[in-house]
């Protein structure tokens, strides 16, 4: 099995507090990996550690390795800005910029200089919106404000904005927690399509979502990875008692 990311003996600290304890797991290429666990178990910290979004937090410190295609992203010679282009992120609340739909998607390609001329930029924007299953909704109002979209559309716009810079990995931090069930299903369908081109890691507090939409699942508890495995196995036949207690709702 081909690993896009390889996490080895990874620990993470906020000052004195150890938020992640000696994690070891692979993230499989072009697969969807779900991270589940109760609030405060470290799953979001772990997700943010994968593109070093925690770096700006005071007193934050990482130990161990996160290998992206075999290269440790915490090596001193790694350019964080470039890393974030390769490992993109979709956030919990839909958070488009207060600008036009077009400019939201075009922002990343523009700052990275990905498009030579404006014709090329139009192409990138259209393709990204198509890939995010939003093109049909917005093709007639690209210059309209992003805030006018409904929350589900806004979140798909954020996904379009993320994939517009052609990342290799897409991290999703509870992307459906602010959405209704219909919009949630749309995002889950979209994830299945995106997995063909991207490696996806999703943090979710919904076990149903993890079970429905992921290939692999990691269960976090108090900063530790309790169990990791194929999603059907983990949900039907967990190895650890704690995992079983959590997924059946007896613990958590």
């Amino acid at each position: 099995m081909d690993n896009k990311l390889e996490i080895q003996n990874f620990s993470f600290y906020y000052g004195q507090f150890q938020a992640l304890i000696n994690l070891n797991l692979p993230i499989r290429r072009n697969q969807i990996t779900a991270l589940i666990g109760p609030s405060g178990c470290g799953k979001s910290t772990f997700l943010r550690a994968l593109n070093r979004m925690n770096d700006t937090i005071k007193g934050a410190r990482a130990e161990g390795q996160v290998l992206l295609d075999g290269k440790n992203i915490y090596d001193p010679d790694v350019d964080v800005v470039q890393l974030r282009q390769r490992v993109g992120m979709v956030f919990q609340r839909p958070n488009p910029f207060p600008q036009s739909i077009y400019n939201n998607v075009a922002y990343g390609p523009r700052v990275l200089g990905l498009a030579g001329g404006n014709g090329r930029l139009d192409e990138i924007v259209e393709q990204s919106l198509r890939d995010a299953a939003l093109w049909e909704d917005v093709k007639d109002r690209l210059e309209g404000p992003a805030q006018a979209l409904n929350p589900g559309q806004q979140q798909r716009l954020c996904i379009a904005r993320t994939i517009a810079v052609k990342p290799e990995v897409v991290l999703m931090d509870e992307p459906c927690s602010a959405l209704d069930p219909v919009a949630t299903l749309k995002i889950e369908e979209l994830m299945q399509q995106l997995a063909a081109d991207y490696t996806i890691v999703i943090v979710t507090h919904s076990m149903e979502q993890a079970a429905r939409a992921s290939h692999w699942t990691g269960f976090f508890w108090l900063g530790e990875l309790v169990e990791y495995g194929r999603t059907p196995d983990l949900f039907t036949n967990p190895e650890k008692e704690l995992t079983e207690a959590y997924i059946t709702g007896r613990q958590g």
């Binding site: 593109n51 979004m53 800005v81 470039q82 974030r84 282009q85 993109g88 992120m89 956030f91 609340r93 958070n95 910029f97 207060p98 922002y107 990343g108 523009r110 700052v111 990275l112 404000p145 805030q147 954020c158 904005r161 993320t162 517009a164 810079v165």
Partner: protein, 284 residues
């Protein structure tokens, strides 16, 4: 023994507090009304477009109006780059260290310095040391310095009020810190920054003391042609005709005061307009 019940005390308190608050409005209204009442009759096309004649007692105040406009522009040019630059540093780059604390302390102190001290500093620094002479350049720099604390603190506040999510998202697509500031933070903070600049300008431009030794002239037969020329200016002109010219018609004094008041009020008005337009447009 209780003279008044709790309810009666409550009524008295409400009445007193409302009265005190209303009293605050009265001086403002009186000043504006008095100046309008006494000054309106002096305002004419000639008053606004002609230079003074007959020892300032006749003619207009055009050179002083023009000088104040020039000084406003000069002050803006001096204060804007420094002010916005410092605000960006404080809001986006500054760590909690000795340098940052020194800068903040300096800004607080800058705001507390009396305006006459700015005037003397301008004289020593710009007029004499840099040998700009008594000039629009020296006056603009002095006023610009005085405006800095207001520009910096309002600009910093505007920058900090831009939601953190915009920065996070910008970083997450691979933008650098400067690109994030340039393309997300500043555009969203701009209305607030502009408001701060205009308010700072409207304060500075009514000051007499800072321009006293650095730029203002009692009377000039010609209009300034370069930044190294002196100029007349409204506040100083008002000061001079009110204290130094015997037999000055009262309505000319009030007319000058009215023009100065309208100038600063219209700046404040523009700033308020921008701010409320921004609040309506803001969607986060």
């Amino acid at each position: 023994m209780r003279v008044l019940s709790r309810q009666q005390t409550q009524k008295v308190a409400t009445f007193l507090i409302t009265t005190v608050a209303t009293l605050v409005v009265i001086p403002v209204l009186l000043i504006i009304l008095m100046i309008f009442y006494n000054g309106m009759s002096a305002i004419s096309w000639e008053f606004l477009t002609q230079p003074p004649r007959n020892g300032m007692t006749e003619g207009g105040i055009m050179p002083a109006i023009l000088g104040t406009i020039l000084l406003t522009l000069g002050t803006a040019v001096a204060a804007i780059p420094l002010g916005i630059g410092a605000a960006i540093y404080l809001a986006e780059y500054a760590g909690d260290n000795a340098l940052t604390r020194t800068i903040r302390l300096a800004i607080v102190n800058l705001a507390g310095i009396p305006s006459i001290v700015y005037g003397l500093f301008g004289l020593g620094m710009f007029v004499l040391f840099f040998q700009f002479g008594t000039s629009i350049l020296a006056g603009s720099l002095t006023l610009g310095l005085m405006t800095l604390p207001i520009v910096i603190s309002t600009a910093e506040e505007a920058i900090l009020s831009v939601p953190q999510a915009f920065r996070t998202v910008s970083y997450s697509v691979g933008a650098t810190r400067w690109q994030t500031i340039r393309h997300q933070v500043l555009p969203n903070a701009m209305p607030g920054i502009i408001t701060g600049i205009i308010l700072g300008l409207s304060r500075a431009i009514g000051e007499t003391a800072p321009i006293l030794f650095t730029v203002a002239a009692f009377y000039l037969p010609n209009l300034p042609t370069s930044v190294f020329d002196q100029t007349m200016a409204l506040p100083y002109h008002l000061y001079v005709i009110s204290t130094q010219v015997p037999g000055m018609p009262l309505q000319v004094q009030y007319g000058t005061a009215l023009v100065l008041l309208l100038f600063t009020l219209s700046l404040t008005f523009v700033a308020t307009m921008i701010r409320s337009a921004m609040r309506r447009r803001r969607e986060w």
